[in-house]
């Protein structure tokens, strides 16, 4: 079993006719994801890789019974796409889009608190549940089924770690990229809670970075609630304060959000913290 996705997941792609949307639709179908259609306003009636395109999310849900959506819509229009998915009753919404203004994400965050939908992202690589589904842009071949749960703020760094786990013979239940923005739909604590409750997940890997206090909150949660072993890596130890390191969320502000304080909190919670991401598989043994 995986977290957030299962055999009943029926996925639609918002922005399916775009360059990114169409490319990744093909990849997700080839992986075996149960992808049932897509949405592009004004292109209803077309087909992409053998899947029907609808004008609205509501129509897509009515016709296909979709319960999950992946969003590849450009930043200025992505919040609208999220609201449309929420209002159509989609349970799991994954938003890949990078560069959404923070104030727009704060409105989305507030709106989600009035509804039951779960958002993953934005600015994230999505989910990979090896052998079950791939919802997002993670390359499918990096993962293999197993009992490790991976949760991360990063993209390619996650691929590194997952690939290293796979090569070390340690498969994964689910790999979740929660995104590198300051305001995100699903945080570390929520993902950790799901891994703790998932009977198949036996060990967990957390990959964080500088900025904010999500890793410190995660450490407090692990200390108080987790029975499964956790290994972690925090990127950005060598980053200077006050400078944004690529991700909108990766900035040390007012002396807070440093790698050191996060590592200390995690160690304090009994987490095995790697200096080098290549050590992670060994730390889980």
């Amino acid at each position: 079993m995986a977290i957030m996705v299962n055999q009943d997941t029926r996925l639609i792609v918002q922005g399916i006719t775009g360059r990114e949307g169409s490319f990744h639709t093909k990849q997700m179908i080839e992986y075996g994801t149960n992808l049932v259609g897509g949405v592009t306003p004004g292109k209803g009636g077309e087909w992409v890789h053998g899947k029907p395109v609808f004008d609205t999310v509501k129509k897509a849900v009515d016709a296909t019974g979709a319960n999950a959506s992946i969003i590849y819509v450009a930043a200025p229009y992505a919040p609208d796409a999220i609201y449309e998915a929420v209002d159509a009753g989609i349970q799991l919404i994954v938003c890949i889009t990078e560069g959404i203004p923070i104030i727009e994400m704060m409105k989305v965050y507030q709106y989600l608190s009035y509804h039951n939908s779960r958002l993953v992202g934005p600015n994230c690589p999505g989910l990979l549940a090896p052998g079950i589904a791939k919802i997002g842009i993670m390359p499918g071949y990096i993962g293999t089924p197993g009992n490790v749960g991976v949760v991360s703020k990063s993209g390619t760094l996650t691929y590194e770690v997952v690939y290293a786990l796979t090569q070390a013979g340690m498969g994964q239940t689910t790999c979740v990229g929660i995104g590198g923005d300051p305001i995100i739909g699903t945080n570390f604590v929520e993902a950790l809670q799901m891994f703790e409750e998932d009977p198949e997940t036996e060990k967990v890997v957390l990959i964080g970075e500088i900025g904010g206090r999500a890793e410190v909150d995660a450490a407090e949660f692990i200390k108080a609630n987790m029975t499964k072993p956790v290994a972690a890596f925090i990127a950005g130890k060598s980053a200077p304060p006050g400078t944004r390191m690529g991700h909108a969320g990766a900035i040390i502000e007012g002396g807070e959000g440093t790698a050191t304080e996060k590592i200390e909190a995690l160690l304090e919670a009994g987490v095995r913290v790697a200096d080098n991401p290549e050590q992670i598989p060994a730390l889980l043994k």
């Binding site: 104030i103 990063s154 206090r213 969320g249």
Partner: protein, 392 residues
């Protein structure tokens, strides 16, 4: 993107926040003229994008226009925390009875804007938060409702503001929130907001940071970017669509993905110790077309401190053989004899490595793991540094 004090305050004024209407000057002569027009005494304030200007001698009171000219002469060109002062703000001097703090920022954990006030103005809010957290009053703002009147009153009450100022204070708070929203700010801060001897509230100093993600819809603010205040490589990188931050080490890093780019920096520091470290953060983004790799390589090599270059590319959707060809093409366009370590991992990594190895370029070497790549790049930089020392 950070705005200067004068940019922030002039923006505040557009939203009805009272400021002392000063003038900027780029030469001592302009400072003299400004002081004469405004009427002395005036305050000559360095406009640089760092805190601690006062302590560094970048803020001075002038009693006459001549004195303003002298102060401007001393302050312009001065370096404060590594940044050169190119502009001063000449503000009328204020008669300060009390200093308070008022600022709005994003609370990541709450997912909402938070407005904060403190009776201890003129000090960095982070310091107040550490030393005297009870002095800070906070209200979270529902982005759909905006700042409510009662919340502004809660702040006024929370910092024991005399009742006579509540009405004006609430209006300033409401206007600051309007300004924050309309500017797509991630920080809008008045510090200090002063009560003058004449019992007026005035925003004496201001700071705004604009959300980089929102600049596409803030063309007026985007134009205010002070490219003088950043290394020229960063300006070039932005134009090329590359995320780059200049650092002080010797190893130029070229990586795809922000998290992996930070990790690569960390590895060079881990194995480089105190002497050797990363020269930059560089995220080349998705794909690795030759043109983009070449642009990034030019930027990296522009930094004279760079002694070796480390490529760390995870081929996810992009194939490593394509990336390898891109790197070779880029090296044709931007020739360099610096030692370069290339690590390609993921899709078609073996083919990619073979392409690099078969090119037989003496200063290129490939590495299989991140650890090996970082150690090799550190070793090459260490040798180059030792050779430099030997040559001296």
């Amino acid at each position: 993107m950070n705005l200067h004090e004068y940019q922030s305050k002039f923006r505040f004024a557009e939203f009805g926040i009272p400021i002392l209407k000063g003038k900027t000057a780029s030469t001592p002569q302009e400072a003299y003229e400004a002081a004469r027009e405004l009427g002395c005494p005036v305050v000559v304030k360095a406009q640089v994008l760092v805190g601690g200007r006062g302590k560094a001698g970048g803020v001075k009171v002038a009693r006459t226009p001549e004195q303003a000219e002298d102060h401007a002469n001393a302050i312009l060109g001065m370096k404060i925390k590594g940044l050169t002062v190119r502009k001063v703000l000449i503000d009328p001097a204020a008669n300060i009875a009390q200093e308070i703090y008022l600022g709005i920022t994003n609370d990541r954990a709450a997912g909402r804007p938070v407005i904060m006030a403190s009776s201890e103005g003129g000090i960095e809010i982070e310091q107040v938060a550490r030393e005297n957290p009870d002095a800070i009053a906070r209200e979270h703002i529902d982005p759909f409702l905006g700042l409510l009147d009662y919340q502004a009153r809660n702040l006024a009450s929370g910092i024991n503001l005399p009742h006579e100022h509540w009405r004006v204070f609430s209006r300033i708070a409401a206007n600051l929130y309007r300004c924050y929203l309309a500017s797509d700010a991630v920080l809008a801060e008045i510090n200090p907001l002063v009560i003058t001897g004449e019992n007026q509230l005035i925003a004496l100093d201001g700071k705004m940071i604009i959300d980089d993600n929102a600049l596409f819809r803030q063309p007026q603010l985007a134009e205010m970017r002070d490219t003088d205040a950043e290394p020229k490589e960063e300006t070039l990188a932005r134009a090329a669509g590359i995320s780059y931050v200049k650092l002080n080490g010797q190893i130029g890093c070229m990586v795809n993905g922000a998290g992996l780019a930070m990790t690569t920096m960390d590895m060079t520091k881990l194995y480089g110790g105190d002497e050797i470290g990363p020269a930059n953060f560089l995220d080349i983004g998705g794909g690795a077309q030759a043109s983009k790799v070449a642009a990034a390589l030019r930027i990296i090599l522009d930094d004279a401190n760079v002694k070796s270059v480390l490529f760390n590319i995870f081929g996810g959707i992009t194939r490593c053989d394509e990336v390898a060809r891109g790197i070779l093409e880029a090296l044709n366009e931007v020739p360099s004899s610096l030692p370069m370590v290339i690590r390609l991992v993921g899709t078609n990594s073996e083919e990619g490595r073979a392409i690099i190895d078969n090119a037989n370029i003496p200063n290129l070497s490939s590495a299989a793991t991140l650890t090996e790549a970082a150690k090799k790049a550190v070793e090459a930089a260490r040798k180059a540094l030792a050779a430099d020392k030997g040559a001296q």
